[in-house]
Symmetry: C2
Subunit: 444 residues, 2 copies
């Protein structure tokens, strides 16, 4: 049995009540639009549970109270069928939202075909193939609502401190950190455009104009590795500040993470609970965070039986060991200059290390923030660009920033998906973005 989609009336969504606000209509008759998540019957009473994106609610169908037409429909209703239920809101302490609806009538928009996602266990590949439907699950909704809160908290943090939002370009004429991990596209037949790996260089130009700027947008890395921390397309928020040094942005990074966690705890506690997150771990995220040097991190590794020659960068497993060592985020500063990108400023007191910082989330989650103070001397920067064998003409504009009123400046990037994965408490970043793009995943 199939029903045609009804001819919609004007101002549809405005005229109905959403599930999160039924409490305001206690004792009144309302119409709810939504999808059926499950149904059950107990003797002569039938129950429909509806979701509408704002919550779920139980609708009760009782002979004598509910129309015959609705009672007749009950057996036909399948999982994810779309319908409207009209009925009286009733306070019920046992109900999840505190209210249920005593249905008087039902209007079916569509009887859904057999829904592919069932309560039984599915493999991740299957669920990812059905990501457009998987989003309807309460767990995925909780994660993405937390993501929304993370993004909002970060933007608010910078807005409130007088940063100007500058959307960075995606198409760039050159690479910032080598071309091996760059996606490229033909740009009208006569040249190539590379997809940005970071808005940083452009934010540096912005900082010289606006003082404090940030961008929030997608960035791209064509990494062939399949790890739990990598997406080919991921979102970053990147602040950059003029007249700032490493110390400034270390403090800023700490304050940002505190603000984000605070906002999530304040507005998304229910979602964290639904995910089974140990909230006490997040409540510990208070300043001051731990601050150690690269050298001290190497010592931690050594003590853990994992020796790393000085000068090498940490791998994911080493980051895990170090971050597991702390119950709060840890800021690791002054990595060997050779492990870092050309634009990093070397420590004048110790030129073999860069004035850089990575922040590792606790509980083994690894790097969520990377940044540092930028090289501000035009002569040294030019040498570094040459040494890195980058095309000089592509970076001429970037050198201009050191020719016309160069100033100490610094900034960092926060990877949104990694931050969300840590806050939600899951291993793999793939569920922390609506439609993940991975080495083997471009659909849907």
């Amino acid at each position: 049995m199939r029903f045609a989609i009804r001819n919609p009336q004007s101002g549809y969504v405005m005229a109905t009540v959403t599930i999160d606000t039924v409490g305001k209509h206690d004792g009144q008759s309302v119409t709810i639009c939504g999808w059926l998540t499950h149904k059950r019957s107990s003797g002569r009473i039938r129950f429909l549970v509806l979701r509408d994106g704002t919550g779920t609610i139980q609708c009760t169908l009782i002979q004598g109270e509910t129309s015959e037409q609705a009672l007749d429909l009950y057996p036909e209703l399948t999982h994810e069928s779309s319908l409207t239920v009209t009925g009286t809101v009733r306070r019920d302490k046992r109900a999840p939202g505190g209210y249920e609806i005593l249905a008087s009538s039902i209007e079916v928009l569509q009887i859904a075909e057999t829904y592919p996602i069932s309560p039984k266990e599915h493999g991740v590949g299957f669920l990812m193939d059905h990501r457009h439907l998987w989003l309807r699950s309460s767990r995925q909704q909780a994660i993405l609502r937390i993501r929304h809160a993370v993004v909002n908290a970060a933007r608010k943090f910078f807005d409130d401190q007088g940063f100007t939002l500058l959307d960075a370009p995606i198409f760039t004429p050159s690479s910032c950190e080598g071309t091996t991990t760059l996606f490229e596209t033909d740009y009208f037949g006569d040249r190539k455009a590379f997809l940005s790996q970071s808005g940083q260089l452009y934010m540096e130009a912005g900082a010289m104009a606006f003082g404090k700027v940030y961008c929030y947008g997608p960035t791209f890395r064509a990494e062939k590795s399949k790890t739990r921390r990598h997406l080919t397309e991921f979102w970053m928020i990147e602040p950059e500040i003029a007249f700032a040094d490493l110390e400034t942005i270390m403090k800023l990074a700490e304050a940002l993470i505190v603000a984000i966690v605070e906002e999530v705890l304040e507005t998304r506690r229910q979602e964290l609970k639904l995910l089974g997150r140990d909230i006490t771990r997040l409540e510990k995220i208070q300043p001051p965070f731990y601050v150690i040097s690269y050298d001290e991190a190497v010592q931690i590794l050594k003590d853990a039986g994992e020796s790393l020659p000085w000068g090498e960068d940490f791998g994911a497993s080493q980051e895990t060991i170090v971050s597991n060592h702390f119950d709060k985020p840890v800021l690791i500063h002054r990595y060997p200059a050779q492990t870092k990108a050309f634009y990093m400023k070397n420590d004048p007191n110790r030129p073999e290390v860069a004035l850089c910082v990575d922040m590792l989330a606790p509980e083994g989650y690894g790097e969520i923030i990377g940044g540092g103070q930028r090289e501000d001397d035009p002569v040294i920067l030019k040498e570094k660009i040459e040494k890195a064998e980058l095309p000089a003409e592509s970076f001429d504009w970037y050198l201009d920033l050191r020719r016309y009123g160069s100033v100490p400046h610094a900034g960092f990037g926060l990877g949104i998906e990694r931050a969300v994965a840590w806050i939600c408490g899951f291993e793999h970043v793939r569920e922390s973005i609506p439609f993940p793009r991975l080495l083997d995943r471009l659909y849907p």
Copy 2:
């Protein structure tokens, strides 16, 4: 004469006062960090005007009050040199911000090389080549601050109404409106990824999960045309609502534009004035906007001596004629279905027109919003995909949205650069984005 960049001290930016807050330090000694925008001397008094991204301030150098070292430096200081000025804040009615600084000492960070942008007229090509420096001009800063306010107002509008932010993917397996205007990239050797032209299809999946969603991100069109309204990379905010029809989103679009203009008028009035914008024009942007059908728009064109056969889409010049006709935005609904994309729902009462709407900004600015109600019948949608010769396998997930609880739904996209260009009152969109990408522009 050249000065080395000094070795920065810790917590630099935090320890100094920004120009916008000097008023709080009236009579006190402060240190300002900034760049020199101009200087002049009058008898024995010398003036330096500094900008720091938060504003500009005049610093006065007077023999006896100012250090000899600072007075000696004065002749060396070039446009855009970076420096710090320490001195006493003094109230001065004639000063732009109401205050000036009586300088006691100066520290130079860098004497800038001869700055390429001078007060004389430059061609747009030259300025765009120097976009990374051009951003420092007060006009460009005003525009991009207005852009920031537009983005914030739009996001706040949706957040406050319970929309969930869902960042849409950029890499997509297929095109939404034909492949001729798509940028593509090799995706790990075995397939192609296309850069998204719109997040809409993904927002439709989101609406079925969250009820109301929006995305804000870059979108890409490989249009070979050089017009004042097109960028190859532009940003859109796209809401999508389940259980909504054309009428719902027409009201929503109107309310959004009203909220955006209100926010700009409230927080960026100074910037509008600096741009010479006729603010009374913006103050007229109050509901209700004009609402006409495509048929009525064709009649307006005919009356203006510009005849258009029924069934053809409007060109830019025709949009200009229609939008010039109104002192407020005009919503044009129900275009011929043949001019619109496959996913548009046809009007059941008049199948030759689509349930779509474009909003044209007044004063000839043309389209800033496009949207409509989506086809929700799986059978009709499948036919439309076939008729448009789109690859069925790429849209199978999209058809799923019509198989599992299809509901009437609608949404639209607001082009940020076009909205900013209109609000700022300039013809070409290229200045309304930090780093514009055009047919012939990929640098810096």
